[in-house]
């Protein structure tokens, strides 16, 4: 079993439509730790040692957040700047994250068609996540395709995202149980819509 850490960042969770529901879909899973960053560090004063300890204790790192300005909410940037230290995460002697798997689970306001060449956002979510891709690469982590849920503002009930919830839970479970084809997942565009394609055969209980 691989241990999964969800680094969760939503500045106003009480107003969240999708992220909250996605989180609730996985927060009862064994072997999954959810670190609610805005709740833990409301003044953005991040406990670096604690965060590094959490990273060491887990094998799969999922950044779950709304897709603000084609990226993440501020606290995740601060988290990157402070936690991913030279000599710890990268650079000379920085091997603590080597061999881990990482991906972003994001929600966007716009529809899927907006996130493509010719769409009004011009790039795919995968493309816009290029800095995360390179960050993972520099730290020796395997970077998987994002789990992206689009048109988040149109969702107002659990039923509206029932499919996404099931997909998210399935993905996290599969990552935990190591039932995922990592190479395929790395090459995919959006794990939310290509999940069947990357899942390995279900183990016989």
């Amino acid at each position: 079993m691989r241990r999964v850490l969800i680094l969760f960042a939503h500045p106003v969770l009480e107003r969240s439509r999708v992220n909250r529901r996605l989180m609730e879909a996985v927060n009862d899973l064994d072997g999954v730790t959810i670190q609610d960053l805005y709740e833990a560090y409301p003044t953005l004063s991040i406990d670096v040692a604690r965060e590094q300890q959490l990273l060491v204790e887990h094998d799969v790192i999922v950044f779950q957040h709304p897709f603000y300005w084609y990226s993440c909410p501020a606290i995740l940037k601060e988290w990157q700047d402070l936690v991913l230290e030279h000599g710890w995460a990268y650079g000379k002697g920085g091997t603590q994250l080597r061999g881990k798997t990482t991906l972003n689970a994001v929600t966007t306001g716009g529809p899927e068609v907006a996130y493509q060449k010719g769409g009004y956002n011009r790039f795919t979510v995968r493309e816009l996540l290029t800095p995360w891709d390179q960050t993972a690469h520099l730290c020796g982590m395997k970077f998987l395709a994002p789990f992206a849920v689009h048109s988040a503002l149109k969702i107002s009930s659990d039923a509206d995202i029932a499919t996404a919830r099931i997909a998210y839970r399935t993905l996290i479970e599969a990552l935990r149980d190591d039932r995922i084809d990592l190479d395929r997942a790395a090459a995919a565009e959006n794990l939310a819509s290509e999940l069947e394609h990357v899942l390995g055969p279900r183990e016989v209980a």
Partner: protein, 635 residues
């Protein structure tokens, strides 16, 4: 009426009040101001002061004793030990060399070897009172030249003791005739070894009592919170030590100096300094005035050239001796010149030694009188000597880049931060600063707090920050920040006002007890004022929101928003407070409503509302208006 004590006091004080500020304004320094004042009120000009000036002088000499006590307070034992070489070496050589040169010159003028030696030893002494005052006044005391001068003066004080013992041997009077003369008391009948033992015992007693008696006594007095008993105790200690020293035949100035050194590490040091300082200042002023008044112009008029010869000859010889010694002891050029110019005069001990010499019949009254006049004149010439030194000599001998010879600064009060009040509030500030290795000088008026914090290994001075002289002693003159954290409202406001006035360049961070106090302090022009309970109440409110189910981040953001508004209203209320009662009340009420509106979700400025405007239809609507982008994809 002119005989009454009050009239005399008035004359001296008036002279000081009138002439000292004028002299200072003219750049001549306070010491010269006092001396000139003395000449003018003296018997040869205005005649307000007659022959009793002599007695006044003996009384006023006590100012020198007090000054050395304060000098001792500023000199930690470790530093004194560091100075042992200049004191014994430089000081000892100075006394010997000057005695030989002056004595030799006297012999050249036909004086017998006995009186010549006596005069040589007498003239070897410089004026502790004038030199230290002038050095301090010009900020030269802590320079290496100043420290050397101080070391020499200290050695001269010590040398007076054997000199006094030697005079009866040189004189033709019998040793048994010695009667009491100011500094020396009858040691007759006591064998030399016993005297030595007494001296040693007295010195040990003074040093030990500094630690064992004075500190508990001050702690006890501090608990009683009576300032005048503190002052009385400080004076009592100084006078007590002086008496003890006199009784064993040691110089009182030397004794109080040692006591000062013994107390230099004590937490009451600033307080002692501040208590003694005004007395020292007044008595020294009195002393200088009486020196001025003593100059016998009748005598000078009788033999002006002879006396001028004595003065200039002696000062030149002393100057040469000091300069040569400064070279031998490897002082840099500016320090050498400072040493030579500052110590070239003959000191006040000469008055004592000359009259003692007459009494012991080392020399005659007629022989001593012109010498007494010469001593006084040489003292008066000291401040002008400093002016010549600073204006003409130092600029020539100082290498480029340095204004004054200040290389070795012996001062542990250059901490950039002074904290007044080290209770719950000041401690927090102090601890964070100290944790960041920022030196702080701390003053507190609560003896228990001082004790507790001192036990924790933190240097805290017991002292009342409302006294500007004490703040000055604590280094406010060059502080970069003053933290005003005393808990008494009125006192804090008074201190703030004084500090703004006396140290206008030092920025203040002030603790306010409440809103009124906040406005009081703000109106004094203090920009950084913090209400003492505001931040903790603020934190509590955030925690209350979190406990009630608010997300931590939301609670913090709402509280910050509220605080920004609150601070704005506070400034507006400050304008109205005390002026417009109705306006004040309605502004408070309006503030409540504003805050409520601000917190309300509908407020368009509330951050979370922007959620709805991100990446939805409205974004695309804007894009459609944009001429450049005609091709938008909609679902």
């Amino acid at each position: 009426m002119t005989d009454s004590v009050l009239f005399q006091a008035f004359v001296y004080l008036a002279a000081a009040v009138i002439f000292v500020p004028i002299a200072k304004r003219l750049g001549l320094g306070a010491v010269l101001g006092y001396l000139i004042a003395g000449v003018i009120v003296g018997p040869y000009v205005a005649g307000f002061v007659g022959t009793e000036g002599h007695h006044v002088m003996h009384f006023a000499e006590f100012g020198v004793v007090m000054m050395l006590f304060i000098v001792g307070l500023e000199l930690r034992p470790a530093l004194l030990w560091e100075l042992r070489k200049p004191i014994l070496g430089l000081g000892g050589m100075q006394v010997a060399l000057t005695a030989v040169l002056v004595g030799g010159a006297a012999m050249a003028f036909g004086v017998g070897w006995k009186p010549a030696l006596a005069v040589g030893l007498t003239f070897a002494c410089s004026s502790t009172a004038i030199v230290l005052s002038t050095l301090a006044e010009r900020g030269l005391l802590k320079t290496s030249g100043g420290q050397s001068a101080f070391s020499v003066l200290l050695m001269q004080d010590i040398a007076v003791i054997p000199t006094l013992a030697l005079f009866p041997v040189l004189g033709i009077a019998a040793a048994t005739q010695i009667t009491e003369i100011t500094d020396v008391t009858s040691e007759a009948g006591r064998p030399a070894w016993l005297s030595g033992l007494f001296v040693l015992g007295a010195v040990v007693a003074v040093i030990a009592s500094g630690r064992l008696v004075v500190r508990p006594l001050f702690r006890f007095l501090a608990g009683a919170r009576l300032r005048e008993s503190f002052t009385a105790a400080a004076l009592m200690i100084v006078i007590g030590i002086a008496l003890l020293m006199q009784s064993v035949g040691l110089s009182p100035a030397l004794g109080t100096f040692l006591a000062g050194v013994a107390l230099a590490d004590s937490e009451y040091r600033h307080e002692l300094e501040t208590d003694i300082d005004p007395f020292k200042g007044l008595l020294l002023g009195l002393f200088f005035i009486s020196v001025g008044a003593q100059i016998d112009f009748g005598l000078i008029a009788g033999d002006p050239l002879g006396i001028a010869g004595i003065v200039l000859g002696t000062m030149t010889l002393k100057l040469i001796a000091l300069y040569v010694l400064g070279r031998i002891f490897k002082l840099d050029r500016p320090s050498r010149w400072l040493l030579a110019f500052s110590l070239a005069q003959i000191g006040e001990f000469a008055f004592v030694l000359l009259s003692f010499g007459v009494q012991q019949r080392v020399f005659s009254e007629a022989f001593a009188s012109p010498l007494v006049a010469a001593v006084a004149i040489s003292m008066v010439l000291t401040p002008p000597m400093f002016i010549i030194l600073e204006r003409y000599v130092l600029p020539r001998v100082t290498e480029k880049g340095e204004q004054r010879p200040h290389d070795k600064v012996h001062d542990d009060h250059d901490a950039p931060v002074v904290i007044a009040g080290y209770g719950r509030f000041g401690q927090m500030v102090g601890r964070i600063l100290r944790a960041n290795k920022i030196p702080v000088t701390i003053l507190d008026l609560d003896p228990e707090m001082v004790d507790i914090v001192t036990r924790l290994g933190i240097k805290v001075y017991y002292g009342d920050a409302s006294r500007m002289d004490l703040l000055e002693a604590a280094g406010m003159g060059h502080a970069r920040l003053f933290v005003l954290a005393v808990d008494d409202k009125e006192q804090a406001t008074a201190i703030a006002e004084n500090v703004r006035h006396h140290f206008p360049k030092v920025p203040i961070i002030a603790r306010a007890r409440d809103r009124q106090h906040y406005w009081d302090l703000r109106r004094l022009g203090i920009k950084k004022v913090f209400r003492e309970t505001f931040s903790s109440a603020y934190e509590s409110a955030i925690e209350a929101l979190i406990q009630l189910g608010y997300r931590a981040n939301t609670a913090h953001r709402l509280a910050r928003r509220w605080r920004d508004h609150e601070e704005k209203v506070l400034e507006e209320l400050g304008e109205l407070w005390g002026k417009d009662r109705d306006g004040y009340v309605s502004r408070v009420k309006a503030g409540f409503d504003e805050a409520e509106r601000l917190m309300r979700d509908e407020d368009p400025t509330v951050y979370e509302d922007r959620d709805g405007s991100w990446d939805n239809e409205s974004l695309r609507a804007d894009r459609q208006v944009d001429a450049q982008s005609t091709e938008t994809t909609t679902s």
